[in-house]
């Protein structure tokens, strides 16, 4: 079945629909605030519909990862094609998008979180038009990262996402917004530069053949059919980079376990680790979260952080399995430190939002640990944790936002007794809090359990240390719950109102997802299963081969 409309495929639609929306919003008169809001909501709602169609028509049997035939909803076009450039010949960059089990979950998450964040943006009053225009641009950037199969395209989307984020924090944020925004921007840019270096190094190491029609053939394919009429070019194609046969023999990144491969891996890793954020690259996150407006915090925690771990799985793992294997222990260690350290620092916070920000560091550490295990269960747990963290932390930030909107403070010690004052709100809070502390029956538990189960098979000691967070998380979550929700309400908060319908509309679907996936996670796990098995097999095989010194 073809999924295209007006000759454009569904992935392009889901990616660029927000850009269309942005153009529409920009053309609308500035004072038509509600119209702008509704237009944005319609766009993100359409995105959710498209994501639903993707989900319904996704073939769970196809693995993807390193084969184009395993990718689904693929769209391909020649984007930049310059016949001859000084020093490096023909430049041919493709617009190549497609999804597999790894990215489909992220696409769904992005659509969902963007939709929820749009509802949450309703009470933004400061230059609404500019806000939603940037918001939609951000949406495109995020979606693009998850569907790109070409490194150049990936990088472009990665950077496209950066700029609106800077403004959304820097203009619509809290008192120290400029500091937080520029810190976020510079920090991420620093990572991007390292990623750019690795990307360029890869570009000049990987060769493919292109025929007269513009079709790309791997070196092995070209050798099989003869190179007559084919032209040898460099490529940004991520899938081509995963095939060791495509590396030019004397190029920078050829071979296995070479120093340059390790350097390129570390460079990429730092770029991604800043985004995750993994200890010790996490300090931009609390600042950004505290200053960002609620919907932007939701996007930041719900989707942006996932890009880092997604990048590791999509790019670092299959392209550098040897380096991955070499640094797996270190990666797991960083995951464990993030988990324990994040939880401990969270416990010391007095600002509700900062606490949730550090809990994000801790929960994303689970993802890092799970994927470092390099086995199916650990990586499945990791990707599922990415999804669950997206929904759960989105809920947590929305919850903070609800109370901040009403009380204009986030001090944990300023509250008490909200349970009686705001019962509906508290009921939803209980779901989110207990999901965050990994209560069985809620989605966070399933993913954390599988991450740890997978990790234990590879790193016993580290996993045992990581298990301490089970207690620590319960500690700071319940302590927060006690300080804010239990006890009796201070006189000054007696006029706080319970959640309104708009807030319920954004919170309840997330709560339902969290409960449903906690009991029956298969709908999401089945989506990614083939890809995870394939990726695990690929990494394990390659790293075994690398250990034996053959390639």
């Amino acid at each position: 079945m073809e999924f295209s409309f007006l000759g454009i495929g569904i992935l392009s639609w889901i990616t660029f629909l927000p850009i269309v929306g942005m153009v529409i919003v920009l053309m609308m008169p500035k004072d038509q605030r509600d119209a702008i809001r509704w237009a944005s909501l319609t766009i993100t709602a359409l995105q959710v519909v498209l994501a639903f169609i993707l989900w319904q028509n996704f073939d769970k049997g196809l693995a993807g990862i390193n084969t184009i035939s395993g990718m689904q909803f693929v769209e391909k076009a020649s984007w930049i094609d310059i016949k001859s450039v000084a020093w490096f010949g023909r430049v041919h960059i493709e617009y190549l998008v497609g999804i597999d089990g790894l990215s489909v979950t992220m696409v769904m998450l992005t659509a969902l979180i963007s939709f929820v964040a749009t509802i949450s943006s309703w009470n933004i009053e400061k230059s609404v038009k500019g806000y939603f225009a940037l918001f939609l641009l951000l949406d495109t950037g995020m979606m693009g990262v998850f569907v790109s199969l070409d490194f150049f395209l990936f990088y472009v989307f990665w950077e496209v996402m950066l700029l609106p984020m800077y403004f959304l924090i820097g203009v619509w944020g809290g008192p120290r917004r400029e500091y937080a925004a520029i810190k976020f921007f510079l920090y991420t840019l620093f990572g991007s530069v390292l990623m750019l270096l690795a990307m360029i190094a890869l570009y000049f190491s990987v060769n493919v053949y292109i025929d007269a029609n513009g079709s790309i053939l791997s070196v092995a394919q070209a050798m099989a059919q003869g190179t007559e009429g084919l032209e040898k070019i460099y490529t940004f194609n991520i899938l081509a980079m995963m095939d060791p046969g495509n590396f030019a023999p004397d190029s920078l990144l050829a071979g296995v376990n070479t120093a340059w491969r390790y350097i390129a891996y570390v460079g990429l890793f730092v770029g991604f680790a800043i985004k995750i954020p993994s200890f010790p690259f996490h300090t931009w996150l609390p600042d950004a979260h505290v200053e960002a407006p609620t919907p932007i915090s939701v996007i930041l925690a719900g989707v942006l952080l996932k890009m880092g771990t997604y990048g590791l799985l999509r790019i670092s793992f299959p392209i550098f399995p040897d380096a991955m294997h070499h640094y797996a222990w270190g990666l797991a260690l960083l995951g464990v430190i993030s988990m324990v350290y994040g939880a401990l620092v969270a416990m010391a916070q007095t600002d509700f939002k900062k606490l949730i920000a550090y809990s994000s560091v801790s929960h994303m550490g689970v993802v890092t640990l799970g994927m470092a295990s390099m086995n199916t269960q650990g990586m499945t747990g990791a990707v599922f944790q990415m999804f669950n963290h997206g929904t759960i932390t989105a809920m947590l930030f929305l919850i903070v936002g609800v109370i901040y909107d009403r009380a204009h403070t986030r001090g944990l010690n300023d509250f008490g007794g909200l349970m009686n004052q705001m019962p509906k709100y508290s009921a939803i809070m209980v779901v989110a809090f207990f999901a965050a502390l990994g209560l069985p029956g809620l989605s966070g538990f399933v993913s954390e359990a599988f991450s740890l189960i997978g990790a234990f098979q590879t790193f016993q000691t580290l996993t045992i240390i990581a298990a301490i967070t089970i207690v620590l998380t319960a500690g700071y979550m319940l302590w927060t719950l006690q300080r804010v929700f239990l006890g009796s309400i201070p006189e000054k908060w007696k006029n706080l109102t319970d959640v309104n319908n708009r807030e319920l509309i954004m919170l309840v679907p997330l709560a339902v997802i969290v409960i449903f996936l906690g009991i029956y996670p298969s709908p999401v796990l089945d989506l990614m299963n083939s890809s995870m098995n394939h990726l695990a097999g690929l990494v394990q095989e390659a790293s075994t081969a690398a250990m034996l010194g053959v390639r």
Binding site: L163, Y166, G170, I182, K183, F185, L186, L189, S192, V193, I200, A201, F204, L252, T258, A259, Y262, P280, T283, W284, Y341, L344, V345, M347, A348, Q349, N375, T376, Q377, T380, G417, M419, L439, P440, G441, L452, I453, F456, Q457, T463, A467, I468, I470, V471, A474, G475, L478, Q482, L486, G487, S488, P521, L525, N529, S530, N533, A536, G537, Q540, E541
Partner: protein, 757 residues
């Protein structure tokens, strides 16, 4: 029939869950806030459970009925092969008995609560939580795999948290709820790691498959020690949930919850889940693991019994008594007296639930009387404020005394049977393995138990009431509270557990239904087998019987001598041993040490980490910005606080550190056979780390604003000649600069690489 029984069991499981959901959403809108609905649901669950038990024992007394399902299918996993996560539920005799125990106590507590909780602020929510608890507990009972066991395990923790904190307006209640949850989680970490060890070896959560794996000679990490460790780790879960030493501290505080909750969760069922867990995993326990379990149980039983003596709050005494009795059960399983341990779980559930409900009845009427007198200072739970209640509350008195006789192990009661067989088991254990301390502690605790329990009965029900005016306002509790008391008192009689007229014969339907399961661990590390053990028990039986009756009698006698006849002065005894008394009052200092060392230590540590995070980790980040600026504008540039800094010293420090790193770390980071030459690379690393040091020392925290925002822009402008941009203070201007910078940098690198290739 078999498949019908398991279906019925699943209905029993889901009924309370349905009750919970209904109560949460519609409870308040229903007449009487829906208490009848939830009570009806749990009563029908009880009916079904009794039916299941009878059918199970009649039709399939030795079979395990189960229903497995695939929860997650991982398909063909590299390195393992096809992998499915199979979970399921099973009904064996153990589970069938537990079904009845849980639903029975739960039903009685539901009825009792309709009166006790009458007019409560969150009446319907209370009943909803009871439903949630019953569901979770039944899940533990019915799970045939470690995964669902763990799920139920945590969910009972949740319901316990919610119910202890039911009156969360009180700080003490919310503190106690939090403490219960977190202390339990400490044990759960061990449990979870135990599961990880077993799962990573056998790739299944099903207990039957794990057992057959061990029985087939496959050991975790090929090591018998690891098997022992796995057993002990799983037992850690029980240490938390069953309030064993050293994690027993949460249970006394849990008495902040409503008293019927204490009866259901913190006396009869949830706390017994730990014992049930050990019983379920009994076959994989090695001899060493079982010995650890026995000692933990014995120590717990002893510590808690000594603390119980010094307490004056009736619920606190009962709480410590519960801990002590749970220690008994754990000890029984540890010594190998499997049947006796589980037997005690069932008998204890009845009389301890009764004791709590009885104390609830007392507190209820004390509370009402105090309320009537407009007295809000006197503690209705303090036994020193009671006395002489037997005239006013005859039913409560008689039933309470019955339970006390049962817990003291006086013949004709159910407690006598189970306690006696545990003590016989400890003697047998001593014969077989020579651990004399276990039976000594066991008998000592038996004496202490009858002493402190009769202390309550005497202080609360006999003698004269502490305040003569109050007596007029004290009334017997309503029928809906006394009937459950009478039923439980009836079930504390030996007959129901044996269907045998001989009050000294432990043999009966119960002991026949739960024989000790065969161990699956390698023979070299297994505890003495069932037959050997039975033989030893047989020899020890008569002496155990006589000794236990004697010691229980002595305890009762001393209690009467002290508190009724006043022949012995408790004050003088306390004054004679001041250290001991305050030590017991202080509950052996556990709470003080835990709060002072563990909790305070953790919180202090978190503050230190927060400081480190904000000053050092973030300091490096912010410092790097100022370093960049200084690097560009020269080292003589003024530091943040205006002083001129000596660039030389920092440079020297940086270089020295770099060299150190180059030598020590360099060769580790990069592979030795690096094509580029490891020396160069190590140097690169070293320079980076040296740079970091300088960032750290120089930049410090907080300098970001002035340094990066201005500094980097100025620097880039200076370097690239975009001097005009420096003057632009608009953020957009800065951003443009950065973008230009990024693009230029990218281009520069592009060409560098292009030249290389």
């Amino acid at each position: 029939m078999n498949s019908e029984l398991i279906t019925l069991a699943l209905i029993v499981l889901t009924l309370p869950l349905a009750g919970f959901v209904l109560m949460m959403f519609f409870g308040k809108k229903l007449p009487r806030q829906g208490d009848w609905l939830e009570t009806l649901i749990i009563t029908s669950a009880l009916g079904l459970s009794v039916f299941i038990l009878i059918q199970k024992l009649a039709i399939a007394p030795t079979e395990t009925l189960f229903l497995n399902f695939t929860w997650i299918d991982f398909h063909d996993v590299p390195g393992i092969g096809p992998l499915k996560i199979t979970l399921g539920f099973a009904v064996d005799n153990l589970a069938a008995i537990m079904l009845v125990v849980v639903t029975l106590v739960s039903t009685l507590v539901h009825f009792f609560s309709t009166a006790y909780m009458h007019g409560d602020v969150r009446y319907s929510r209370y009943f909803g939580y009871l439903g949630l608890f019953s569901f979770s507990m039944l899940m533990i009972v019915l799970a045939n795999n470690l995964f669902l066991l763990y799920v139920g395990w945590e969910l009972v923790g949740l319901s316990s948290y919610l119910l202890i904190g039911h009156w969360y307006e009180k700080k003490s209640a919310s503190d106690a709820a939090m403490k219960a949850f977190i202390v339990n989680r400490i044990g759960d970490v061990g449990f979870f790691i135990g599961i990880l060890i077993l799962y990573s070896t056998y790739h299944t959560f099903l207990l039957s498959e794990i057992f057959s794996g061990i029985g087939g000679g496959v050991l975790p990490f090929d090591s018998e020690t690891v098997l022992t460790v796995a057993g002990i780790l799983i037992f850690c879960g029980a240490i938390g949930k069953s309030a064993q030493f050293p994690l027993h501290v949460w249970l006394p505080d849990a008495m902040e919850g409503p008293t019927p909750v204490s009866a259901l969760i913190h006396a009869a069922t949830m706390v017994a889940a730990g014992v049930y867990l050990v019983a379920r995993t009994f076959p994989l326990m090695t001899a060493e693991a079982l010995t650890v379990i026995a000692y933990i149980g014995a120590i717990t039983a002893f510590i808690a019994a000594t603390i119980a003596i010094a307490q004056n709050d009736i619920k606190k005494v009962l709480a410590y008594s519960t801990i002590s009795q749970l220690g008994y059960m754990v000890m029984a399983l540890g010594v190998g007296a499997f049947t006796a341990g589980f037997f005690h779980l069932a008998t204890h559930a009845m009389f301890k639930a009764g004791l709590f409900l009885g104390s609830g009845s007392v507190i209820h009427s004390m509370h009402n009387a105090l309320h009537h007198q407009d007295d809000h200072h006197t503690d209705p739970q303090d036994i020193r404020n009671m006395g002489g209640l037997r005239h006013k509350m005859p039913i409560t008195f008689v039933t309470f005394t019955t339970y006390t006789l049962a817990i003291s192990g006086v013949p004709l009661t159910s407690g006598f049977l189970s306690k006696d067989s545990i003590l016989a088991g400890t003697l047998a254990f001593n014969t077989l393995s020579g651990h004399i301390l276990i039976p000594v502690l066991g008998f000592l605790v038996a004496g202490l138990t009858s002493f402190y329990m009769f202390r309550i009965v005497i202080r609360a029900f006999l003698g004269e009431h502490a305040d003569a005016h109050r007596t007029d306002h004290i009334h017997e509790s309503p029928r809906v509270m006394t009937v459950p008391l009478m039923l439980l008192a009836g079930l504390s009689v030996y007959f129901f557990f044996t269907f045998n007229l001989n009050p000294f014969g432990t043999e009966g339907w119960f002991t026949n239904a739960v024989p000790r399961p065969e161990s699956v661990v390698p023979l070299t590390v297994a505890a003495p087998g069932g037959e050997v053990f039975e033989e030893a028990v047989h020899h020890a039986h008569t002496s155990a019987l006589l000794l236990s009756v004697l010691i229980a009698g002595a305890g009762i006698l001393i209690a009467f001598a002290t508190y009724y006849w006043k022949k012995i002065s408790a004050e003088r005894a306390a004054n004679a041993l001041p250290g001991v008394h305050s030590f017991l009052l202080d509950k052996w200092g556990f709470d003080r040490v835990y709060n002072g060392v563990v909790v305070a230590g953790t919180l202090a540590f978190t503050s230190v980490l927060r400081w480190i995070d904000e000053t050092i980790v973030d300091g490096v980040v912010n410092g790097s910005a100022s370093w960049t600026k200084n690097a560009v504008f020269g080292f003589t540039y003024a530091s943040r606080d205006g002083k001129k800094m000596s660039a030389g010293a920092f440079l020297f420090a940086g270089i020295a550190f770099s060299i150190y790193v180059a030598i020590s770390v360099g060769s580790w980071v990069w592979p030795a056979d690096a094509s580029m030459g490891s020396v160069t690379l190590a140097l690169l690393t070293a320079l980076l780390s040296g740079g970091l040091v300088v960032f750290l020392v120089w930049g410090g925290a907080g300098g970001f604003d002035s340094y990066v925002v201005d500094g980097l822009v100025n620097a880039s402008a200076y370097v690239f000649g975009f001097g005009g941009l420096v003057l632009r203070k608009l953020q957009t201007g800065k951003i443009q600069t950065y973008i230009v910078l990024a693009v230029l940098g990218a281009l520069a690198l592009y060409f560098v690489f292009a030249f290389n290739t």
